[in-house]
Symmetry: C2
Subunit: 453 residues, 2 copies
């Protein structure tokens, strides 16, 4: 994909804003900020270092404060909330949709939560409590209880009159839900049908009951998958009794998909997808040093393996020169296989039924790549150290390490998953530990056996 023109607009806004901030003229900054949507303001705040971020946050139209909070990562959000006094916070969030409010609640101070609950009418309070009773990252938490329902035994004309009386519809309403007296979902009617079909058409002729509704306990990932598999704009959510509880809209699903994909990219480097670009130093250190510590453990394992062969290295120093090649390239090969597997697992494309075939494929690929790279490295080693046995040893070690890389790349993510550890986060450390240890051991071990006979 072309990298060049990407997000020119954001970059331009950022530059304009930065210049205006530096010049200290806050009037233009305020005007600029308040032409943006809440999501854009959120993005902008995330791209500013702490002090400028707080200046800009103070200039955001109070009406947008709540929506902006919904659109920033957890870490940035905490910082923004810490900067507001309780009254401001209550004013900012009390008009949010229930699903957004439920999403924010855990980041709010208890006093603010009490205030908000007090300021709500009973209906909304019950809805919020209902939403919070579902686990995070489930359809129940993501849904908005605000839905428009109609009965089956009526006509397009009657429904249209009802809608004109009702006035505005919730955002992204593309379907009306047909329910019975017990509020159980019977099906839905497309808004499109209401404007294209004859006004006398009975609603029950327009009901689409072929689609399955989402269940309150379904995971966010499953929700996202269903939306993209069926090209939905919104979908109804029901409970065990098929009672309509709310609806989920595509804008929230887009956020889930984004987070899910970022999770693979950032998780592989031991980062949290909510990490703030401008985290305070202390927090950034804490976030990263744990991961580095885990990697350090595996580095010591590798060092320990090398340590067992000190005597060999003392006699043939060339081994010390060449050994990082065997370990390093093996690691690269393993990470390639792992990355494909992690994506396959996330998409549900890899399971027990095809893991064997995948392993067999990857082993063959590894064997060929091992022979190619092994021959190349062997040739360079021969030219460098003029020792054809050493060349054979490094070539053989590479073939061995490539095979182990394929094994680890396929099996480690499956194993981690069975142990309920996220392979997107833990996979890289484990597979590179394997290729480091096997790489050093096979190369130095073969050298000891063959070269030091």
């Amino acid at each position: 994909m072309a990298e060049a023109a990407r997000h020119d607009k954001t970059a331009r806004q950022l530059r304009l804003l930065s210049d205006a901030l530096d010049s200290g003229r806050l009037g233009p900054v305020r005007r600029l900020v308040n032409t943006l949507s809440p999501a854009e303001i959120g993005n902008l705040l995330e791209s500013l270092p702490h002090d400028k971020r707080m200046v800009v946050w103070g200039l955001v139209d109070p009406e947008d404060d709540g929506e902006v909070l919904v659109h920033v990562g957890d870490e940035v959000r905490e910082g923004l909330i810490a900067d507001m006094d309780p009254d401001e916070l209550v004013a900012a969030v009390e008009d949010l949709d229930i699903d957004d409010l439920a999403d924010l609640v855990e980041d709010l101070p208890d006093t603010v939560i009490d205030e908000i609950l007090k300021s709500m009418d009973r209906d909304n309070r019950e809805r919020l409590e209902q939403a919070l009773s579902y686990e995070e990252d489930t359809a129940g938490r993501l849904m908005n209880p605000d839905v428009v329902t109609v009965r089956a035994d009526t006509t397009v004309d009657v429904v249209l009159r009802f809608l004109r009386l009702r006035g505005e519809l919730p955002e992204h309403t593309d379907h009306l839900y047909v329910v019975n007296r017990r509020h159980q979902l019977m099906g839905w009617v497309a808004l499109q049908d209401l404007v294209t079909r004859d006004t006398g058409t009975p609603i029950n002729q327009l009901i689409d009951d072929s689609l399955t509704a989402l269940h309150v306990s379904e995971s966010a990932q499953e929700v996202a998958r269903q939306f993209s598999d069926h090209d939905w704009v919104s979908a109804p959510v029901v409970d065990d009794g098929n009672v309509l509880r709310g609806r989920i809209t595509i804008d929230d699903v887009v956020d889930i998909i984004r987070e899910q994909a970022e999770h693979q990219a950032l998780g592989a480097a031991g980062l949290d997808e909510d990490e703030d670009l401008f985290s305070p130093i202390r927090r950034a250190v804490r976030g990263r040093v744990v991961w580095l510590g885990v990697n350090l453990l595996t580095a010591f394992m590798a060092a320990f393996v090398i340590g067992r062969f000190e005597a060999t290295i003392e006699q043939i120093v060339a081994l010390a020169v060449l050994m990082p090649i065997v370990a390093g390239i093996g690691g690269n090969a393993a990470v390639q296989v792992l990355t494909l597997m992690v994506r396959g697992l996330a998409l549900g494309q890899v399971g027990p039924s095809n893991a064997g075939i995948l392993l067999w494929k990857e082993l063959r690929v590894a064997l060929i790549n091992g022979l190619l790279i092994g021959a190349l490295v062997g040739a360079v080693a021969l030219a460098w150290f003029h020792d054809w046995v050493l060349s054979l040893v490094i070539g053989a070690a590479l073939v061995i390490n490539f095979s182990c890389a394929a094994l680890a790349g396929v099996l480690v993510p499956l194993l981690l998953r069975r142990m309920r550890i996220d392979p997107a986060v833990a996979g890289t450390v484990v597979v590179t530990a394997v290729t480091d240890v096997i790489g050093f051991f096979s190369f130095l071990g073969l050298a000891t056996v063959i070269l030091l006979r």
Copy 2:
């Protein structure tokens, strides 16, 4: 996010299908497959090895063939197309929407393209040619020319009568576009307003002209960003003269967002996001060996640096044991910074206006992490080799390598970007080359100067 329950449904379908395929009873397979949406069938095909994939592909309802082709990755698609004869292909794709057809065209044999063009009416042929005249990954290529337009000088009542005469609306129609005689875009009217406002309301009172339309040349990334910043379901696309050319819908944008995010995860391992899990061996080898070759080059650079210090290693073998730690952990630290930067660049959050501040932050984080990890490694080295000067040397080398890791992590992606090289793909190789070279050089260099005085 919870990993456990993810995509249970897909995995279950896969197992059922796999069992049915193994038993050779194709009737149940056919029934199972044809209960799925085209996107689900695409996902399923991608998760099957080549021979089973072809069996299932033959069982897909011919009516769905075209949509399924749209929903699979490039590599899998080529395989499926190769399996169809020209007549089948023409039948499969001729009823696709223009934007989907434009997306497929380059993968089709020329004879099939000719056939399709011949079978189209002039209007559609012109639309397809129009679509193909825009570059790939631009709004012009993504849009569907099928739009519903109305005039401003009319009323809700008239529009509704027009819609009832017209019948079905294009999928995901949430707005009607208001154009003038020259088909220039004047604004849009929400379908919601048509069903909630009085039938006598003049359309020009309902026009929303506050939103900006997309331009045909805008990049897919920019389109995706605007959709998620504004929570759009569909958006109009105009040309230089503000003439309405088509509309883009959220389902296509979801695909872009998915691809874009996968690009970071897979690109970092030198993989193409279109790679087939079950690529033929030869193709998989070709795809991976180039990347491994590039990594091999950097491994040789590191080996060359070590080679300059053979004499030192000969005298102190402990250096050979410990040196991979310095290089390896430095690489991990650099990849963490790089990953944050690549995401920041993709979101437009990093630019010249804040790169300096980021660099300064990352340098401080690196210094602290370097001191922490350096002290830890120094202590272990002391316990292992009982040489406190060696401990100091490795500690100092780690601090140096962490600092260089931060420098490389921040500057390399910015530099690559300026050189129009995608940092998501090339970043890892370059930064680990830096930390390998600096790691070995600083450790062995310091050891030579201090330990071998």
